[in-house]
């Protein structure tokens, strides 16, 4: 950990997490481009698989935010896909998950924080959106603000802590037991990666849905 890789590019410091992120982005973009080159009304197996994934994400989003599902689908789906691959990248020897980097998880948490406000203001208007911080009583405004900050911080720390601890635990086990127990550790890594990606995406979805529906009577 301490030997973190950095490349200085002027004022910017390109870390290994960023390079890995670029690789993940490239892979995702290539897969997306390949899978959507020949979309037909009657799908083949690849198109069917891709549509099934997107439809599953769409249904999950619509279950939480039925009125604004299509609006937040790209953000939540991108978050899920990126986190899924980013969490699983650590399984590849020589690579580390970008999500074990606090800077990355904080960036994602901040994106969720601003996205929630963005979609909330976009749907409710600035005045209506800010009004919910004063309801049911203006006294609760500090608690609302603390809640916003704490949940964003929790979002970042949770993912960072889980992935980093997972990789550290896996490294320690591999150091102690050698290669005698790699498969259970790998299985644990996969499950943990999936669960953490799901939790982060679902929390982001709940935050966005809550922001967009906070002033609606039937929310």
């Amino acid at each position: 950990m301490e030997n973190e890789f950095y490349v200085a590019l002027g004022l910017l410091m390109i870390s290994g997490s960023i390079i890995t992120t670029w690789g993940i982005m490239l892979v995702i973009a290539c897969l997306a481009w390949i899978s959507t080159r020949h979309l037909e009304r009657l799908p083949d197996s690849v198109q069917t698989t891709v549509e099934t994934i997107v439809s599953a994400i769409d249904e999950a989003i619509l279950a939480v935010a039925p009125q604004h599902g299509r609006q937040i689908l790209p953000f939540i789906a991108t978050l899920w896909l990126f986190l899924l691959i980013a969490n699983l990248v650590g399984l590849i020897p020589g690579l580390h998950s970008p999500t074990r980097d606090l800077s990355v998880t904080c960036a994602l948490a901040v994106l969720v924080f601003f996205s929630a406000h963005w979609f909330g203001i976009k749907n409710l208007g600035l005045k209506n959106y800010l009004r919910h911080y004063l309801s049911p009583s203006p006294i609760l405004l500090p608690f609302h603000l603390i809640s916003e900050l704490s949940r964003t911080l929790a979002l970042a720390i949770r993912l960072f802590g889980n992935i980093m601890s997972l990789e550290m635990a896996a490294m320690l086990i591999l150091l102690v037991a050698g290669f005698l127990a790699p498969i259970p550790i790998l299985m644990l890594h996969i499950i943990e990666a999936l669960v953490q990606a799901y939790i982060f995406g679902m929390l982001a979805l709940i935050y966005l849905a809550g922001a967009m529906q906070s002033q609606q009577p039937n929310s």
């Binding site: 004022l11 689908l73 790209p74 991108t78 800077s103 990355v104 994106l111």
Partner: protein, 249 residues
């Protein structure tokens, strides 16, 4: 555990780029094709529903038409049966009437045939009777019978009807009145004289009497006075008998 500001901002930037790329390359076309398929499915379902509704409407229409046709068929059948029944009754009555007429005609024909047969039988019986009587009279005929018949004629000449008497009186304008007296047997003189006396008494004029023998008379005499004829013989009686049979027929 270090927090790097460059990584933080680059990660934000990277994620936004990834979000933009996926939105352009992945979500948008994929959601469009899904929506397109959904529209196609909805359209197909809508068309199928429309087709189903049309089929149901056609089926209802067909069922209604079938029921209507069944009713029309039943009505036509009832009407046809009534017509057949009426026609059958009419034809039956006509047949009964024709049979009754034929029966009456047959009865008339049979009755006429029976009548004809009866008349023929009677005629034949009379003919047979006449033939029998002729044979019998031929066997029993004799001069005595002829004499009796002649005497009877002489007696009858005295009581002739007025018409006959007036006819005989008309003959007195004739100069000579020829009288033919035919008999089956030669008449005895006595009878000849009595006859001549009677004739002279009846005919007030000159009479010329000639005697002939005619065996076909069987017995008796026949007197021809001009166109007037007096018969008192069996042949004439038999002829009258036969004529009576003809008259009966």
């Amino acid at each position: 555990m270090d927090f790097n500001v460059s990584t933080f901002f680059l990660e934000i930037f990277n994620f936004l780029i990834l979000l933009w790329v996926l939105q352009r390359l992945f979500y948008k076309p994929l959601l469009e094709v899904i929506a397109k398929r959904k529209r196609f499915i909805d359209q197909t379902v809508s068309e199928a529903n429309t087709t189903r509704q049309q089929a149901e409407a056609l089926r209802d229409q067909y069922q209604n038409r079938q029921q209507q046709w069944e009713q029309e068929k039943q009505a036509a059948l009832d009407s046809f049966n009534q017509q057949i029944e009426a026609e059958r009754t009419l034809q039956l009555n006509k047949l009964v009437t024709d049979l009754e007429d034929e029966k009456q005609k047959l009865q008339v024909t049979v009755s006429r045939q029976q009548e004809e047969f009866k008349m023929l039988a009677e005629k034949q019986a009379l003919k047979n009777g006449a033939r029998f009587a002729a044979l019998l009279l031929q066997q029993t005929a004799s001069e005595e019978l002829e004499a009796k018949l002649t005497s009877l004629l002489i007696d009858k000449l005295s009581t002739l009807p007025d018409e006959c008497s007036s006819s005989l009186h008309l003959l007195k304008t004739e100069k000579s009145i020829p009288i033919k007296i035919s008999s089956a047997y030669p008449l005895p003189n006595e009878l000849r004289e009595q006859l001549e006396l009677k004739l002279n008494a009846l005919i007030d004029g000159t009479i010329n009497i000639q005697y002939f023998q005619a065996e076909e008379l069987i017995a008796g005499v026949r007197i021809d006075i001009g166109s007037w004829e007096l018969n008192a013989n069996l042949q004439h009686e038999l002829s009258a008998f036969a004529e009576l049979a003809d008259e009966i027929v």
